[in-house]
Symmetry: C2
Subunit: 327 residues, 2 copies
């Protein structure tokens, strides 16, 4: 109701709105005395400049959209945390969108974000046609997928991650290994992990098998049945390279139920190194993605684009093997 505006402040301080606006935006000449008066009036009236009005005029909102499959998944929840963290440092607010990898929803979100004049969109979910993104004419950053030659993306070194994991399993003596990964039909850079898995297994002459999830890799409810099926169909696997730490958790659990000892009977390598990885029992060996760096970088790339600065398109961050107790 209050709806105290710049006019009220001006009246209270006995100056004009122009003057108030000047102190607010630090332009033109302002004496300490009036500056004080204005600040006092703002305090007394509990005034906050209306960012909506400002945005309209400036044609800039300082809002970033972030679209991801689901923030309920540990990887994205940590990523979202860091994105928001650094966005805040840069002075941006964050609008959160969970697409659930649903095209219709994602499309609606994209349109909504445009209608709300966000300054840029960070996309960790990209189920639409490339054109739909490009026609936005908005600063964009994608995760784990390159949608166009000039749209920067951030990812980590998936191929190396796959190689590291596979080699480790083989080094530890596994003679048959499996890779549980996301759906390979989706055009994601994470598919490189499977490429590396296959290449490494072949090069080292080890039997291998690949299991893909549903289209929605991040629907955690499917993991148990998937793992169960793998173990039924391939009772002789000795090493499993999981597509994420959550999938690895499922593997550990199912193995435990079936009295397969980890790491004695089956060795497991996860992916991501989200914080639960080290809370599991036994603690999970995993490929660490630098989630914080990825989040920071994404924000930085959006920020630079917003300010018309040049950006590098390919941003592939290093991964590291974190060996704990499951190998």
């Amino acid at each position: 109701m209050a709806a105290v505006t710049i006019k009220d402040v001006a009246k209270r301080a006995g100056v004009t709105v122009t003057t108030v606006s000047r102190v607010l935006n630090n332009r033109g000449y302002i004496s300490e005395a009036t500056r004080e008066k204005v600040y006092r009036a703002m305090k007394e009236l509990n005034y906050q400049p209306n960012e909506i009005a400002r945005s309209l005029l400036r044609r800039r909102t300082n809002i970033l959209g972030i679209i991801l499959p689901t923030v309920a998944h540990p990887f994205f929840s940590e990523l979202a945390f860091f994105i928001e963290y650094y966005a805040y440092e840069y002075g941006y607010k964050v609008m959160l969108c969970n697409s659930q990898l649903d095209q219709k929803k994602e499309k609606e979100y994209v349109e909504m974000l445009r209608a709300n004049q966000v300054d840029g969109i960070i996309m960790a979910s990209h189920t639409l046609e490339v054109d739909e993104y490009l026609s936005l004419k908005l600063p964009l950053v994608t995760f784990d997928r390159q949608i166009a030659p000039d749209v920067p993306f951030v990812s980590s070194d998936n191929y190396l991650g796959g190689t590291l994991a596979t080699n480790l399993l083989i080094d530890r003596g596994c003679r048959k290994i499996a890779h549980i990964c996301g759906n390979l039909r989706l055009n994601m850079l994470a598919n490189q992990r499977n490429k590396a898995f296959v290449a490494t297994a072949q090069a080292r002459k080890v039997e291998y098998v690949t299991v893909e999830t549903d289209l929605n890799v991040f629907d955690m409810r499917q993991y148990d049945t998937l793992v169960l099926r793998l173990l039924e169909e391939h009772p002789d696997v000795e090493g499993i390279f999981a597509g994420s730490d959550v999938i690895a958790a499922s593997v550990i659990k199912i193995c435990h139920q079936r009295k397969k000892r980890i790491p004695e009977d089956i060795k497991v390598v996860g992916y991501d190194d989200v914080s639960i990885a080290s809370f599991l029992t036994p603690q999970l060996t995993t490929i660490r993605q630098p989630i914080e760096d990825m989040g920071r970088l994404a924000v930085e790339l959006i920020h630079k684009q917003i300010n018309k600065e040049a950006v590098t398109v390919e941003n592939v961050l290093p991964v590291t093997l974190v060996e704990r107790e499951t190998t």
Copy 2:
């Protein structure tokens, strides 16, 4: 650059902006023919009404602020997911804020949200003075704390949760039990769990001990050392009631390291039943909070307040005991 406005659409369709606005907002008389013309023009120009301009006029943004300690914590990540999910159903967008339980940050977020004219704020972090919230004069919903007699809050039945967990541990034969909980100095309804724990232990004449976390309960890095200390100082505890599933995960891990068998030597009950609870090994017995319902309810309460509808202030949802393998 495009910045296609309602004027461009009007020109293209050969009508006035008033007419375009009418079809956009469904008011006044519009023939099918012009409606069509207008829609076609909008399509051709790839027009999206500028929500900022609309918001300014309507004095309503359809944006909800949500402040929580950190979306990186599984409980809040799931809660945030559901809040966003239902907010979207109601036509709201969500601005995400991670306060990290830092007063300064929370204060800045609150001011930011007000400046951005959000229609309401859902607060799962409330470290400020009550007045600071009330002076906002904004629809508010809090989680797990009542800040004023007329500010609705949603929580689950913490006392019952504490009772169920404690009784279960005792029923399973524990003769000394511990409760690891958040800092009791914080004015949170979750403290009821400890009340229940103490009352139940006393009533049933079982030895008990309470361990509090740092002020920031949701900083997961402290859990291991906390649990370790508990086990050192009280090597004879036979049952642990953890303040969250993540803390329980830490307990499981540390026990495993110290060769304490679960549930044979030590029994564990978690809290929340976030999805990782069932991914742990052994699967975690826990007190289930209805996170989805809590999220939905919070949105509903905000929505009603925005529309000046009456709301019930106390919204305490039921908890249930989910017994799995750690008891």
